[in-house]
Symmetry: C2
Subunit: 379 residues, 2 copies
């Protein structure tokens, strides 16, 4: 992986760049649709290409449990298995173990847990998680980290930092000691933790920067903390990371969060919101989200967003999509997910354009004037 | 609507023709994907076009209850509402009232029933059902008929015939007395009933043929009767209908049923099997159906059918599709439905080609030698 920082906004920390991987280039800032189980829910890989997706995310925890990383290795890696031929980033599974697995325990060796699928026992070590990601063949691998819950005491977060740092070192050693299985280079990112404590964020960033990872994620946020804390910790963490490396804010977020975090110098985002909220009947527009299932849209024959050029807005009305939701039709989930990902990918495209034109602050102001972040019943 | 019989097979009753409607032409024999609630489950209208679908079916009962035929009329008809711009056939709702509605009762006026959605009471008269289909704007409308259950006594079936005949007459009067709402011609088909009783099939066909409908359906089959009865009644009914009118066997069926019924002179088919069975994990191949969810396919990296040229078979493996089913992913339902409809539409295309080449009997024999109609675990 290679990262080229091509533009630095003059009035904010926003920046634009290019990430080059074996499966193609990624223009940053970028949003990465989430393909937890080897598919971005409800969509096909060719639709993702049409949508302009440049990189998607896969979940190591889910894929390791089902169908199993050996099976995916046998298929030729996750690209071949899922027929997604552009870049893939896989997380380390740590976050899922803490949030999904039935039991989990941190030991000196790693992380033991029980599968949420069948109750079977498993151990994730930093080394094993790298090996799993070698089997998946992702372009960007993430280190195993200790993701703290929110709230979390200072001492607990400090203890978490130690584990995260040790695991990062072991991950990097395993990375350097192992070869890719499919003949192309895989990269590895470290993950800054520290909960909402400034000294611990500083400590975590310093330790990881010393290890000289090719890229860095900001982790442990969007776990229930208040919005100001999310923003403050993001701004702080980003400022502590080397400008010549890509910065990835994990699991964030809403459109307004992305617009804000880009202003702090974040380059990469992933979040289930566009697909999950879409499946629940919330769609995004330039004026804010709207709940398409509402009776208000029963005979509204306009598109979701009249300014949107996506396939859904060019072909279907709010009334029809509402009907599909009411009738429990799969096409409802597809159309809402498709439109929402289009919205997110167009959003990062507009952000990038504004940065390149040195207009990010102005553009950001315009966005917030127009965009009402709460679900509304607006026309 | 105009029907042109272009080829008559020399050694069987199989025939090929062209149906011309305001929304385009249909090459027969044809299979019509079922779009019960204004969408062919899991697929988009542009995918249906890519699949080669020439006409789809909509369900009057479902659409009348939800979203309501007035809403669809307000949207400009079902074509505009659902953005499917090719021909649509709508059924009369009679079959659904008998099979889905909570209560139903035949009166002199029509058919009273309780909605399976909200328990509300409704009355379908032959006249009202035509008016609903006028609001839907379907290219082919079906008359309200009395669909007998199976088994059904001779007397009950004879009584059903009387009702079906009276309703057919009233439907035709309403058809002639009413105008299309969207400026293009809609056609109307009568429906032959008579359960599995030869004299009653003859009586029903005679009565309807006297009314001179533009097309005829063979109804009351595929309701639980043994396969020989389905075939015998289909062959009989088809033979009683005028050769210059299209013949539509309602709700049938499996690939082998279509191949057989075409040999009896049937031109049109609809069935939920390709989509419903697809969603349940059964996919069709040239050798017969296979249950893609079986553990057997866990690491089978071949396509569903190596002879199939569809998008699914060109891009995804059995192992991946099985994984998607195991993981409960929507893409599983999409890929199985897509492939199955491709299989059905390719099947009727091959059938038509064989008829035109005067090779239908030979082709049919080859089909049955290759195709094992039970789900198998074959490679």
């Amino acid at each position: 992986m290679e990262f080229e920082l091509t533009h630095q906004d003059l009035r904010s920390s926003a920046r634009a760049g290019i990430i080059r991987t074996a499966h193609g280039t990624i223009e940053t800032p970028i949003f990465m649709p989430v393909g937890t189980q080897g598919t971005v829910k409800s969509l096909s890989p060719d639709e993702l290409v049409t949508l302009g997706a440049q990189i998607i995310l896969g979940n190591t925890y889910h894929l390791y449990l089902r169908p199993g990383s050996e099976l995916i290795e046998k298929a030729g890696g996750l690209h071949a298995f899922s027929n997604w031929r552009k870049p893939i980033l896989t997380d380390s599974g740590g976050y899922q173990v803490f949030s999904l697995a039935d039991l989990n325990k941190v030991t000196a060796e790693g992380l033991t847990f029980q599968s949420h699928i069948d109750g079977s026992y498993h151990l994730f070590t930093p080394e094993k998680v790298i090996q799993i990601q070698r089997s998946l063949g992702s372009d960007v691998m993430m280190v195993l980290d200790k993701c703290n819950p929110y709230p979390c005491s200072y001492d607990e977060a400090a203890q978490g930092n130690k584990i995260t740092q040790q695991w990062a070192e072991r991950s990097l050693q395993q990375y350097q000691a192992s070869d890719p299985k499919f003949g192309y280079e895989q990269s590895i990112f470290g993950i800054v933790q520290g909960s909402i404590y400034e000294p611990l964020r500083r400590e975590s960033a310093r330790g990881l920067v010393d290890l000289d990872f090719p890229g860095y994620a900001i982790g442990g946020l969007s776990v229930g903390e208040p919005k100001p804390a999310l923003y403050e910790m993001t701004e702080l963490s980003a400022s502590l990371l080397p400008p010549e490396k890509p910065r990835y804010l994990m699991g964030v977020g809403k459109p307004e969060d992305i617009v804000t975090a880009v202003g702090y110098g974040v380059d990469m985002f992933d979040c289930v919101i566009p697909t999950r909220n879409g499946r629940n009947g919330t769609v995004f527009t330039k004026n804010g989200p709207l709940v398409i299932k509402n009776a208000l849209y029963r005979d509204d024959f306009r598109p979701i967003d009249d300014a949107c050029q996506c396939y859904v807005c060019q072909n279907f009305t709010r009334a029809y999509i509402r009907h599909l939701f009411q009738a429990g039709e799969i096409l409802a989930l597809r159309l809402a997910s498709y439109h929402n990902l289009y919205f997110y990918l167009e959003l990062v495209g507009l952000i990038r354009k504004a940065i390149i034109e040195n207009q990010y602050s102005v553009w950001q102001k315009g966005f917030f004037e127009r965009y009402a972040s709460n679900s509304t019943s607006q026309s």
